[in-house]
Symmetry: D3
Subunit: 238 residues, 6 copies
């Protein structure tokens, strides 16, 4: 029995609030239950140094948590003077995931910076961030298309979404909330495209090692969840 | 004529959304027009080192902006490794302002940390932050009172609110938005209590120096605006 | 009764020692009683990036305290790896104050960096710094005029000086020393030009809030004090 | 055809040089072909703060590269003042992997710090580091057993080893060297125990997404490779 | 011919101004010609962690330069966020030199922190700092003796002073000023006690290597100079 | 009697292992007994900013220690976020020493970066580093000569080597190991060229001051030791 009463293959209620931010070229407040992440996409007419004169653009991401997004207040990273290893790991993951579905040549020599800021956390912030960042990125590209800078269909090759799965109380379950996450024996994050390709898999045994069979069950759960998320994305941007 | 069409003594629409955050002991999303600041109050059973065994508590504040809260994306302070001078100046102001209406002995040896995070900026973030932080602080104290830790009426001595005034296009106006703020000749922030006492005054000539008369006009505008804000706070927590 | 025996409207003995430094284009050791600040003005043939090709120059300031300028030794900021919020707040104030009386176009694309280093502290270091920095800046401009780079009268629009006032033992007094500053109920810093314009006002209630009347009394004291300081500046550079 | 001429399921020559360091309680220079990593295990009679008085110990890891371990010289992290996101990600992975096979209660309130320093890099430094760190950890525990501090068989629950697999030139291959790694379409790292349990899986599509079938092929390659590595570990410590 | 017209064995005019600082337990403004260093000694009732409960005290030093102490303005170390290698090297040298003449057991479990801040630089700042720091340290110990904390004669075992010598225009000369220092072929710093013992020698070939004979000539010059400095110290504290 | 049983003028066994690193243009693992330092020379087609368009090149050095190179594990400098004063002092010494024997004009506008990383420490790491760095530098220059970039004989003016000497148990001894180093009364490092010129002398009294005679004895020991080291270098690169 899951603490939330959900079925093992049941995700939390997911919603996307587009245009949450007045200033950003694209933005989305994504909610996976009580996990709320604000994703903004900022277009910048510059590229990282190693891409200058390459004809290619770049998509990068940064991740942060408000200090009281969590049950106990966490130290503000700006005040402690550095981003934690966890923060860096997550923002690298978000960036890689988004670049997997973007044609960087079609984007041209520009950078889109995705900021994913967790307003409230209840487990699964990185997977919510990736899923919501897709909407922000899409809307930024639409903004550019409206200004004849690019064609969205040339730049955006597919959908991208992510979900966590894990083994909680010996049961494979999808979309772990904080209570489940803290007690899970195995925790895995999956990032997949709309057409079912796998972009990232990260599986970690928190307690005892897991078997190939268990892992395949998690992968199956994830595949269904991501199908749902992509359907919801499509409906949102339709 | 103000860019927003407001009258010189007309504030933007102000609203408080209490309990915005699931985890914090007190929280409030305050909006001054398009300026949106999330204020959370976190109770911590510790005090700064210099207050140990003094019987007194502490109220402190931190301030941050999401990178794309502004028209152009700003560098994330956590990534650049330090808080700007502006950030530190503002968070010191918020902390001082709140301590002015708190009886630190009645609070007891505990710390309340107020986090003010700007979700969207359109001028006046520091004054919105102070005004909204009052609600978060109040609700945190209520939470404590419900657990018999303190009496709110003993700890909270008064209301506190803040507003900016300035001279824009040679006219004294209240509650400057970003367009006005960038072009103002003089910019002043006022922090006052519900009973009309002045807690902080910060006036800066951005262009030519200002006169005592001009300053008194701004002060008069501020007094009226703060009366309105306090009335709204009272209605909110009633 | 003030600890120093001064009258409520009596400033400490103020002196300026010009050309204190052999290397700087302008320099001044300013003393407000036992508060001693070395101000140097350094001409640099560069501007901040945002002014390149604008035809305008810049005046900026940095502030520091020797570790044992104070009663107890303070940690060296260079060793702790960052400037405190207080330091940044003060150096931003000094820079803004000086820019208020400089015609940045007449200066041309150059930067003058003012360093204000507190050799000995006894309250009022920021106001002494601003008042002394004026002399250093003036002498730097004279140095430039002697090399036909600018006309002082075109660049320097007015005098600038500053003084603190506060309510100590229920009495409004001017130019607080450390003993008064630590016990003051209200503390305010005023920066004004030679022609009486106000450039900066910073008033803070340290204990109970202050009233408009009290504030106006402090402003009146400041006005007289700054008149004295400007007279002394004029005599110094005559 | 692999650049090294290896077969798709053929690992590089792997060797362990025990007791490489005179001072460490356990140490091992591990070589996966031209990738050389020095692993040392340091026993410290302290634990992280959150474990004090818990009766449990801790195993942690740090990772570094000598600046010229790579084809082009990389900036020294100590000189640039921080560890990169990649470094932090890897050292967190190594620590988690080792803790998966250690009984922290049987270890007692002590910390073992594993340092993995890459002397020469040719792809697969993190997997070599995990595999070599096992030997260093084992030898440190043996050192402790010789001093009657613990029983190795109580503390060390299993073997742990790691290998990378990837899709290179459309072929699934094991143990990628640098040339393969830079050109791989998919790159995955697997960490498994001696008894075949999975501890970590990290799969990343560098170019186009990968399918479940491809991933299972990589997992099969990894399983065989890790069996070989564990056999070699057993032979080494026999 | 030396740029200053001095003879090869002639030092600059040296002076000590005691009690320069109102707050410090001991202080001295030392001048070696145009090199001016403010040395303060601060007594702190604590010791570094590694001396706790050892019965021993500690003497440590920090060194800094005001940004415009030099011909060109240097970046403020507090603003750039770290002390340069040169600064650290110098402050370690000053600390070692002073500890060489202090009986740390007779001092008791206390720390004396010596701050050497260069107000104006014209070569030889580190040797001036050591020589002046002796006076500040002495006066701090006198302050302690007046409070019956220690006996100066038990704590202070000898005098300590320092001078630079170098080969300039093929001539061995003493006490190099900036012009000489920048052009010297060899540069050496000597720290010696009042009784002629050598505490530190640092010799560096800036251009071509130097011979043993040249080095001995420099050592001879230094010995005479340090005799003069110690005589002047004695006269100062008499 | 020395702890190692060596005679007072007997160095530890010294060896050079060339081409230790696959990637570096020149590399050498130097051993002075149990002190092992990996020196790599990296050619970079750039110069420091102050040498641009000067026709001159540069040789610089960085120094580091693996955390468990020492008897107790030391904090990793990359993790603590800065290089210690000791590290910076040593790497500045290595750089100066190497530049003393290089004709920077003959090198041309390029930089050679020498990394000296201590794999295992037993006293004398800086002198071993300098002595081994010569081999790495030489081999890097040979690599360049093979590509017709320079002539080694034009760039490399002499050999350079270094050794420590000290007074241990009242006896002047050469090449102190860690046990001697920790207990030495005087510790001196000497850097000399193959033709006997002195490049650096650093002598420090750890306990009581030393006399000129003692210092000359140490210098004599060093001269013989460096002759041996240079002979060994010649044999190595023959």
């Amino acid at each position: 029995m899951r603490p939330s009463g959900r079925k093992t293959d049941q995700m939390r209620k997911v919603s996307f609030e587009r245009n949450f931010s007045k200033h950003a070229e694209g933005s989305c407040l994504v909610k996976f239950g009580d996990t709320h992440v604000l994703c903004t996409a900022s277009l910048e007419e510059k590229t990282p140094p190693w891409l200058r004169n390459s004809g290619k653009g770049w998509v990068t991401a940064e991740y942060g948590m408000l200090p009281r997004a969590t049950g106990d207040r966490m130290k503000r990273e700006a005040a402690s003077g550095k981003q934690s290893g966890r923060t860096q790991e997550i923002q690298r993951l978000i960036g890689r995931s988004l670049r997997a579905i973007v044609d960087l040549e079609a984007l041209g020599e520009r950078q889109i910076s995705i900021d994913c800021d967790v307003i409230q956390a209840d487990g699964g912030t990185r997977t919510a961030a990736i899923t919501g960042a897709f909407i922000a990125l899409h809307d930024c590209l639409k903004w550019m298309e409206a200004r004849s800078m690019i064609k969205v269909e040339k730049v955006l090759k597919d959908h991208i979404a992510a979900v966590s799965c894990g083994i909680f109380a010996s049961q494979p379950v999808i979309d772990l909330d904080y209570l489940e996450d803290s007690a899970a024996e195995t925790d895995a994050n999956f990032v997949m495209t709309g057409s079912g390709g796998i972009v990232e898999i990260q599986g970690t045994a928190e307690g005892k090692p897991f078997s190939q069979e268990e892992f395949l069950t998690l992968l199956g759960l994830a595949r269904n969840g991501i199908d749902e998320l992509v359907a919801l994305q499509k409906q949102t941007i339709a």
